[in-house]
């Protein structure tokens, strides 16, 4: 699946993170390969979402946090002083658990990021809207409703709109935090399908909402338990023949 040569996109080194005195991540190290779907899975409270939010520095605004260790993207420390956070976040898109269209029309939602980045030319924006919606497998369904409120779309469409919104910035990495937890199976299938197509161009990190989804989508998978990275290996391997007893028990449904 992963091709002949795997290049590392993101490298996490000895990362520990605490907020409010609680350790959310304990000395986590892993390398995330480019152009694959890497899955973070495990029971709630394991630190998956925290790790995602650290990769695009969304937790910067929180008070009372402590962090040690490093995160590198293409070899650059993203927490190095002087890093342009907005630029980083444009390169690392994020899609959240609940479909969250911003107030405004479908078009405005997709154009939001590029406009913030200073893009104004109409024809370029049109093209971005088309390309992003196309990649998110949404264009055919809503091409006639670009100017209706984003809230009028169905839940599955809204979530794919959110993916399109992130893609509009042509990021290099796409972080997805349980993107299908609020969706029905058919919409879930559509979102997953669009992910398969997207990994040619992007590095995808997915927190799945079920083990089945993890097994369906993962090229590589990392199992998190109580802030600890228990096991990290190829998806085929971990879901059929886990090395660690704890991951095996979780995968086979004995706890979690």
């Amino acid at each position: 699946m992963s091709g002949d040569k795997r290049t590392t996109k993101i490298e996490i080194q000895n990362l520990s993170y605490a907020y409010g005195g609680n350790l959310a991540l304990r000395n986590v190290s892993l390398e995330i390969p480019a152009n694959e779907i890497t899955v973070f899975f495990g029971p709630a409270g394991g630190g998956k979402t925290t790790l995602l939010r650290l990769i695009n520095r969304l937790n910067d605004l929180l008070d009372g946090t402590e962090m040690s260790g490093n995160i590198y993207m293409d070899g650059n420390d993203i927490y190095a002083p002087g890093t342009n956070i907005s630029e980083l976040r444009r390169q690392v898109g994020m899609v959240f658990a609940l479909p969250l269209p911003l107030p405004g029309t479908v078009r405005e939602n997709v154009e939001y990021g590029p406009r913030l980045a200073g893009l104004r030319q109409k024809n370029i924006l049109e093209e971005i809207v088309y390309n992003s919606l196309m990649q998110a497998a949404l264009w055919d369904e809503i091409k006639d409703r670009l100017d209706s409120p984003a809230h009028s779309l169905s839940g599955g469409q809204q979530q794919r709109l959110c993916i399109a919104r992130s893609l509009a910035l042509t990021p290099q990495v796409l972080l997805l935090d349980e993107p299908t937890s609020g969706l029905d199976p058919i919409s879930t299938g559509k979102v997953e399908d669009s992910l398969y197509n997207l990994k040619e161009k992007y590095t995808i990190i997915l927190v799945p909402h079920s083990i089945q989804q993890a097994a369906r989508t993962a090229d590589s998978a990392a199992f998190f338990l109580m802030g600890e990275l228990v096991e990290y290996s190829l998806g085929k391997k971990i879901f059929t023949n886990a090395r660690d007893k704890r991951s095996e028990e979780y995968i086979t449904g004995r706890f979690g």
Binding site: L58, L61, G93, M94, L102, P103, Y112, G113, H151
Partner: protein, 303 residues
């Protein structure tokens, strides 16, 4: 066991019924009171139309001693003072709300919020006194006016008075914007300021509109403060410099003249007619605010 239950039942039913009826009476009585007030106002006010001609009422001069009852200068006075007050209070109020909710660090918020509530509790007489003795001489000196007691002075103090209402309602509206909106916007590379300006405020739009309406309603009905600082000269505010001249509002007129008017005279009835106008204006403002809230609910609070 079974026995006690069966004897208890009718008694409990009766208590239930009594309490329910009591609550119902209390609830309906407030509607009844509003209705009665309205009826009384109408009875006393509409008779003004029998005593005084339309031409006189819609005139531009208010000289009750000469039986000249033009309400236009008073109506325009009220509107001018209120509008300017809101123009001043709106950016300040929304700005403060944004600061308290979005920008201020935790400790500053803890101090600011109770301060704002204290602000709301200052009696308007005290604010009026403050305006008379502090602001009016200040404006007199530095703006080169003939008197410090002007529409502008009134507006500034009214704005101050409407601020706490606007701040706390606007802050609630900002608070109701899901945190995830902010995350979503930040995640796309927006700065905190871009997020506030392009996502949070638009999302809280209808709540902010409600804040403005409530502030308006509070400002237009205010009496004591306006009577103390606006100078109470019933002239038409038609020229641009009217803002820096004395003015007279409907509320101040009613408060100042009702005490000495002969009951049943045409002057008395015209004052009630002013009350009707005031009532209608506040009613319309409240209606607009309510419909804004309603719209917000229907959209699931998202816009």
């Amino acid at each position: 066991m079974l026995d006690t239950k069966s004897t208890d039942q009718p008694y409990r039913k009766w208590v239930e019924f009594a309490i329910e009826s009591l609550i119902r009476v209390i609830g309906f009585s407030s509607i009844g009171f509003v209705f009665l007030i309205f009826l009384f106002l109408m009875r006393e006010g509409l008779t003004a139309l029998l005593d005084v001609s339309w031409g006189n009422l819609l005139g531009t001069r208010w000289y009750p001693i000469l039986d000249i009852y033009g309400v236009l200068p008073l109506l325009l006075g009220s509107i001018l003072v209120t509008l300017i007050a809101i123009l001043i209070a709106l950016p300040l109020g929304v700005g403060t709300a944004v600061f308290v909710r979005e920008v201020a660090p935790g400790w500053a918020r803890e101090i600011l919020k109770p301060m704002i509530e204290v602000m709301a509790g200052i009696p308007s007489v005290v604010l009026g006194f403050f305006g008379m003795t502090l602001l009016a001489p200040l404006f007199l000196k530095y703006l080169g006016l003939a008197t410090g007691l002007t529409a502008f002075t009134g507006s500034v103090i009214l704005a101050y008075m409407a601020l706490p209402t606007i701040i706390s309602v606007a802050e609630d509206a900002l608070d109701a914007v899901p945190k995830s909106y902010r995350d979503a916007s930040l995640a796309m590379g927006a700065t905190q300021w871009q997020t506030i300006w392009r996502v949070v405020i638009p999302a809280a739009r209808s709540g902010i509109l409600t804040a403005i309406m409530l502030g308006l309603g509070r400002a237009i009905g205010e009496t004591m403060l306006v009577m103390m600082v606006t100078g109470n000269a019933g002239r038409m505010p038609l020229t641009l410099d009217s803002l820096f001249r004395p003015i007279r509002t409907m509320t101040a007129t009613i408060a100042a003249e009702m005490g000495e008017v002969a009951q049943g005279s045409s002057h008395y009835h015209v004052l009630f007619a002013l009350g009707i106008i005031l009532f209608l204006v506040t009613f319309i403002i409240n209606l607009a605010a309510a419909s804004a809230i309603f719209r917000k609910r229907r959209r699931g609070g998202l816009r």
